[in-house]
């Protein structure tokens, strides 16, 4: 028998959005559970805060989490649905069924990785990826790091790595200076606190060149990374390094919302004023409804938590703040739009799918994601297309909004027992 846990409100994701939702929901006195696949809470930005506090705002929220009456289920991954009001989850020790009246989905986002020659070499990681590894105990002191790709995350990561003793030699931002300038000016005009944050980051990074219009062309090394070659479209040059921390913005983790039947619009989970998705009783908050940073996640999480527990008046008080953070998100996403040249950096033999080792040349011959999957096994490995799907979406314009359970590979036994698998009903 699979063990069961019953909650009035179940929150998936213990990042800022999920934690804010859970705290607000718990104010109602209802039984609230928070499930997250990481061994500790905090999500992407607040990962490891308990061991190495880094973010000011995290302390207050984590304190609030500790005093709220919440059941925290760490190290548990939701892998499928088990009928209405039930999710199937898995830990290292086996399966678990989670039952709920209301569900708040806050599964966050992941980095978008784009293929370039050498990107599979050990030592080439995501930008947030390297940061997460360092928070997990990877020694970085004295290591030479090039940070590349796109988005404000590059600055946050470089600044963090520097506080941990890394030698950040360069930040290469693909966006054009001409696109970033209006963003900077809008920030100055409308968001004085964000401007202060940006200036503080710049100060923390004094001495580290921040080059715009600049992106990686290739990574080289014998069995592990030794150098990265960058270009600004006119000239190319190589920089020796121990790590390349490289991510091209964020993409939402849509697998679970899609599996639950939630409508997706323009690539994100569609929600109403109260953060409710198209599925009654299922709410969405944080990066899954649009990439927008910490404030947006916290505000949406609070609204969802209040709305899901019959506290609409408290939710409404946050609507104006949400609008502000959404406006900020929109300017941000325009400024850091990916340039066309990035579609042409992969060589024919560059791997696109790292699970099944499928090359760019083999993938590009197909006309859709589905055809490429069937013919080449691209996206059919254990990551289930989480890496190459986001890449081909950008490279070839292939939408990848279909999903099959289980949403993560699982010890087969857990899955076969459960009615989430249509075959098991037969």
């Amino acid at each position: 028998m699979t063990p069961e846990r019953q909650f009035d409100v179940l929150v998936v994701g213990a990042g800022p959005a999920g934690l804010a939702a859970a705290c607000c929901a718990a104010e109602s006195g209802r039984r609230v559970g928070v499930v997250d696949d990481n061994p500790d809470l905090g999500g992407q930005i607040w990962r490891g805060e308990r061991v190495h506090p880094h973010h000011k705002e995290a302390g207050a929220w984590l304190q609030r989490v500790r005093t709220a009456s919440l059941d925290f289920l760490p190290g548990m991954q939701v892998i499928g649905q088990n009928g209405p009001g039930r999710l199937l989850a898995e830990t290292a020790d086996g399966a678990c069924e989670l039952r709920f009246e209301r569900l708040i989905l806050a599964p966050g986002a992941r980095e978008r990785f784009l293929p370039f020659p050498g990107w599979t070499l050990p030592g080439v990681l995501g930008a947030g990826g390297l940061q997460a590894m360092v928070k997990g105990g990877l020694p970085i002191e004295g290591r030479r790091v090039v940070v590349a790709g796109s988005g404000p995350l590059l600055l946050a990561v470089a600044a963090y790595l520097r506080t941990r003793g890394a030698k950040a030699s360069l930040i290469a931002e693909q966006a054009a200076w001409s696109a970033l300038l209006p963003f900077g000016l809008a920030l100055l005009r409308t968001q004085p606190d964000k401007t202060r944050q940006a200036l503080a980051l710049r100060w923390a990074l004094r001495g580290v060149p921040y080059r715009t219009d600049c992106w990686p062309m290739r990574a080289d090394g014998d069995g592990k990374l030794a150098s990265v070659t960058l270009t600004n479209g006119r000239r190319t040059w190589s920089v020796p390094c121990d790590y390349l921390a490289c991510g091209f913005g964020l993409v939402p983790n849509l697998e679970l919302p899609l599996l639950m039947g939630c409508d997706v619009r323009a690539g994100f989970v569609a929600v109403d004023e109260m953060q409710q998705t198209s599925v009654n009783g299922v709410y969405g908050a944080g990066e899954v409804t649009g990439i927008g940073g910490l404030d947006k996640s916290l505000t949406e999480g609070q609204i969802a938590g209040y709305a899901a527990t019959g506290q609409p008046a408290k939710a409404r008080r946050l609507v104006a703040a949400r609008k502000r953070s959404q406006r900020f998100a929109a300017t941000l996403n325009t400024a850091f739009a990916l340039r066309d040249e990035l579609r042409h950096v992969a060589a024919p033999d560059t791997l696109v799918c790292r699970c099944e080792d499928v090359s760019y040349d083999r993938v590009r011959r197909h006309e859709s994601w589905r055809a490429a999957k069937l013919q080449t096994r691209c996206g059919m490995g254990p990551c289930q297309g989480r890496v190459c799907g986001a890449a081909t979406e950008f490279l070839f314009g292939w939408p990848t909004t279909s999903v099959r359970p289980p949403i993560y590979p699982t010890a087969l036994a857990n899955f076969l027992e459960s009615p989430a698998n249509p075959a098991s009903l037969a």
């Binding site: 992407q44 290292a92 050990p122 069995g223 699970c355």
Partner: protein, 83 residues
């Protein structure tokens, strides 16, 4: 002083600080190659957050565990593909 935990990576004992995850511990033990891809290429962690499956190793006999998502525990035995 932070507590340390003794684990084994490919049979060799390593001491790591408490709260270290297995991926970081494998690197601390001097390994860059975590797994071999389906065509035999060496690979190491990419995403650090459990989505890419590049950091898979064998932990206490369980193959294909994502090392970036598992905290070290005393006595843990870890094997990379090149072991």
């Amino acid at each position: 002083m932070p507590e340390t935990i003794r684990i084994k990576v490919n049979g060799v004992a390593v001491d790591v600080p408490e709260h270290t995850n297995v991926a970081a511990a494998v690197t601390r033990a001097g390994h860059v190659h975590f797994r071999r891809s389906v065509t035999g290429q060496p690979r190491g962690p990419l995403c650090g957050m459990g989505i890419c499956f590049e950091c898979r190793v064998t932990i206490d006999g369980q193959p294909h565990r994502r090392s970036c998502q598992v905290l070290c525990r005393p006595g843990m035995e870890i094997q990379t593909d090149d072991a």
